[in-house]
Amino acid sequence: MTENFSKLDDCSEISEDLSAFIDGELAKEQLSKIYEHLLECRCCRQTYEEMKITQEAVKNYFKRSTEEFEIPEKSLKTKDNIISKIIFIQKEKRIIYSAVALSFLAIISYFSISLINFNSPEKEVLHKVKFTKEKPVLTPLPQASKDFTKELKDKIIKKKTFSKPAL
């Protein structure tokens, strides 16, 4: 009697594992336990056989139905549509990336040029020239130079009178 009970317990426990046994998804210890039980229990062996046949039938059904699946007419152009869509997206991406790269390059070049100009000595000279042009420094001429300018002025006047004879 006790033996019968333990047998029944074993069988009910095993029914769930039989499905995993068919799929080869059991751990080694469980695998040998099921295998041993199947050798002993005719009833479970029959259940196993039936389950295997069902599983094969379902698997074959899925295989057949996939092979024979008729894709709806409106989706027939799917492949071409998807590829052209993907290519369009890739092109769009490339354009965006190039635009971003170009703007980045432009910003970097602008800053580097500014930096070079800021540090270069020519720039300094230019600055000085500019500054002196805008605000000329009026330094008083020395006495000697004043006489010199007077002489120069006289010379110019003479030259002018020379060059323009009275008609």
């Binding site: 599983q55 039938a57 139905s65 799917t78 998807i82």
Partner: protein, 209 residues
């Protein structure tokens, strides 16, 4: 030239084909879509017994597969990755339409909803009423299809992912956000239910041989 390349890609190993696709090869992308469009359609066809918007979801799945192929780091995990796209899209669509996921207990009688709730497409085929020209295997296919349709949502999903997509228990557990033990139990119960429905037809078929 193009035709030759097409032929080469047709016989190409999936991993190699995926690598070609990741290099923006248009013909490789074409072949990848060609190889998987039917299985995507069929998976969705069986996931949703009402067969609403299958074409739209399938197209979106194909589009996402092609667009995101570059992000696939391990080509060996392609099948799992693809099913992630399919199931995510399918259940997102279900949620969007606020369809309630069926959580029918195993103790619930088979045709729980009664005759009114069962749509004509959910009726189990009657052997006596089948047209004479129908072959036994066609009849069996019809019975299997109807039996799968009538399975509770969670059982149907694991059966499809296992028998149609050939995923491992671990992968199914990850996709369905459950553990391996739950997958094992759901599969066993789904198979038991299917066996219940198919058994008479299988015996009939075997008897006829």
């Amino acid at each position: 030239m193009k035709e030759n390349l097409r032929e080469i890609y047709k016989n190409m190993d999936l991993t190699e084909l995926i690598i070609k696709c990741q290099q923006d090869d248009k013909l490789a992308l074409e072949e990848l879509i060609k190889r998987h469009e039917k299985i995507i359609y069929n998976t969705l066809y069986h996931l949703d017994p009402n067969r609403i918007d299958i074409a739209d979801i399938a197209q979106e799945a194909l589009f996402r597969m092609t667009r995101a192929i570059k992000t696939l780091k391990k080509p060996v995990t392609f099948k799992f990755w693809l099913n992630q796209i399919i199931t995510n899209l399918f259940y997102d669509e279900l949620r969007r339409k606020t369809r309630r996921l069926a959580t029918i207990s195993m103790d619930t009688p088979y045709m729980d909803g009664g005759e009114d709730e069962a749509s004509p497409s959910r009726d189990i085929a009657d052997t006596g009423k089948m047209p004479e020209e129908s072959t036994l295997s066609k009849e069996l296919d019809e019975v299997i299809k109807e039996s799968i349709d009538d399975l509770p949502e969670q059982f149907r999903t694991v059966i499809i992912l296992r028998e149609l997509q050939g995923l491992s228990y671990e992968e199914i557990a990850e996709l369905t956000k459950t553990n391996i033990g739950t997958v094992k139990s759901r599969l066993a119960r789904a198979r038991a239910k299917l066996q219940e429905q198919i058994k008479p037809y299988l015996e009939h078929e075997r008897g006829g041989e």
